[in-house]
């Protein structure tokens, strides 16, 4: 795996195919521009719309969708806490949206094989944002508007404008996968995934007497 540059690169949204081609698993990016926000319920509706042969409420060509459902904004604020949700729940829907021209997805956690294949096929990218950093990520959001499915509340489809929104490339068009590559670098479990281990194998290391040392 190539070394991860700790100096993130600025990228403008929406994403063009030329830019997507330059992105590699492990790259740190700071995104600036427009993106859409939707999670489970908004995805379900978009797919139902497409299956009914109708048009989506927004044109997804070249766009990035952020899997997120914020907390309500305090008075005087435009949005509340705004970190990513687990992406695997969108796996059933994402390939169809990439076929509609979606170029990027932002979330957290692993994607299915089908999604990774669609990322290669449609030249898109999956970006990881830090789960549980909703307060910090909220401060990168400059503008918010609900564009569809208002009745879904926290799950409505939103359009937001972000500035220097930090993400890391997880899956790129070349088959790169940060989770697999990063984890294999630091994994000291002998064979494959733990699940492949013999249940009767001896403990690998002497037992350390204590939990992480306390400062």
């Amino acid at each position: 795996m190539k070394t991860i540059s700790m100096i993130p690169r600025s990228v403008q949204l929406p994403l063009s195919e030329d830019v997507v081609e330059t992105l590699h698993a492990g790259d740190g990016l700071l995104l600036t521009g427009v993106m859409y926000v939707g999670r489970d319920a908004a995805h379900k509706r978009m797919i139902e719309t497409l299956e009914a042969g109708e048009k989506l409420p927004v044109d997804l060509k070249g766009q990035v969708i952020y899997f997120m459902g914020p907390t309500p904004a305090r008075p005087g604020k435009i949005i509340g806490s705004a970190g990513p949700t687990s992406s695997y729940r969108m796996d059933a829907y994402s390939p169809r949206l990439m076929a509609e021209g979606l170029k990027g997805m932002i979330g957290k956690g692993m994607r299915s094989r089908e999604v990774k294949e669609a990322i290669r096929q449609y030249k898109a990218v999956y970006l990881g944002a830090i789960g549980g950093a909703g307060a910090l990520l909220s401060s990168c959001i400059r503008k918010v508007e609900v564009v569809a499915y208002d009745d879904l509340g926290a799950e409505a489809l939103r359009r937001i404008v972000v500035q220097d929104f930090p993400v890391t490339v997880v899956n790129d068009i070349y088959g790169g996968d940060l989770y697999e590559e990063g984890q294999s670098q630091y994994r000291s479990t002998p064979t494959g995934r733990e699940s492949g281990r013999s249940p009767c194998g001896p403990p690998r290391r002497p037992i350390s007497p204590r939990h992480p040392p306390r400062i």
């Binding site: 907390t71 806490s81 307060a135 990063g182 994994r187 403990p203 037992i207 992480p212």
Partner: protein, 281 residues
């Protein structure tokens, strides 16, 4: 007989939940700092720094640490000599939840009819409530906002007694491994061993309420915790799954006697966004 008003319960629950959602507790901050110092992976270190910055931002602006402000889980230790006046105890708790999520600008994430009409209850009720009756005339309330990225990775295994200690370790490590990046590592691994199926899962959840990294007072259990922690951190998952040495901040095990035919093991993961508070009335 000592009396307390049910509205005290409501106010307490509301305050505890809001505090937990905005202010990361000291033990968790310390554990994250230690993880940062020990971590070798640049990508994981970068995540840990941002988590500490996130905690500062949330604390300063009273904005939730995480947008998933969870489902409320409330543990009660109710003294048998205490008399509650002015209303129903459980309703007082639900009202506290309602108030916390409305006044605290927390996200309402609870839906009715899980398998059909997933309509939002709009006030984050009902909370899940666990009550124990204890001697005395006090009421101890522990309120936890449990996010579901980590909750969804919970597992239960009814092992055979022959699986023994090693079987327990292997099962827990496998759960954390399969969960990978999904539960927002670094995690706290709650493990229940023994009881019946439902008791075992409850033990796993109660294990998460301990101060992060405090070992179990029983040295045999503490050693098991340390052994599992070593194995979990050998997985290399790292913060946010980007690869690294620290996948778990701690492993907490709680144990209960079980049947001669059984060795139940439950795993309940807690993401780094640890949000529980307690108060005694």
């Amino acid at each position: 007989m000592r009396e307390i008003a049910s509205r005290m319960v409501t106010e307490t629950v509301s305050t505890l939940l809001q505090d937990g959602c905005y202010h990361l507790a000291d033990d968790v901050i310390t554990a994250l700092r230690q993880a940062y110092e020990r971590e070798e992976s640049p990508a994981a270190r970068n995540v840990l720094v941002q988590l500490l910055e996130n905690a500062e931002a949330a604390d300063r602006d009273e904005i939730p640490l995480c947008q998933d402000t969870g489902m409320a889980v409330v543990f009660l230790e109710l003294g048998q000599d205490l008399h509650l006046i002015g209303g129903d105890l459980y309703e007082a708790i639900q009202e506290g939840v309602r108030r916390a999520y409305a006044q605290g600008y927390l996200r309402k994430s609870v839906v009715v009819k899980p398998f059909s009409a997933r309509v939002n209850t709009r006030d984050n009720t009902p909370a899940v409530i666990h009550t124990t009756i204890v001697p005395g005339d006090k009421l101890k309330i522990t309120a936890l906002s449990k996010g579901f990225g980590s909750e969804n990775m919970s597992r239960l295994a009814m092992l055979t007694p022959a699986a023994g200690r090693q079987g327990v370790i292997d099962f827990v490590v496998k759960c954390v491994d399969e969960a990978g990046a999904n539960p927002c590592p670094p995690v706290i691994v709650g493990v229940g061993i023994g009881g019946t199926a439902e008791k075992c899962m409850l033990l796993a959840k109660q294990a998460l309420l301990r101060r992060v990294g405090d070992p179990h007072p029983d040295s045999e259990i503490a050693e098991l915790e340390a052994a599992i922690l070593n194995r979990v951190n050998d997985l290399g998952i790292g913060a946010m799954g980007y690869g690294g040495r620290i996948t778990a901040l701690a492993v907490h095990v709680e144990v209960f006697p079980t049947h001669i035919a059984a060795l139940p093991v439950a795993v309940n993961l807690q993401c780094h966004s640890v949000r529980h508070r307690e108060a005694t009335l």
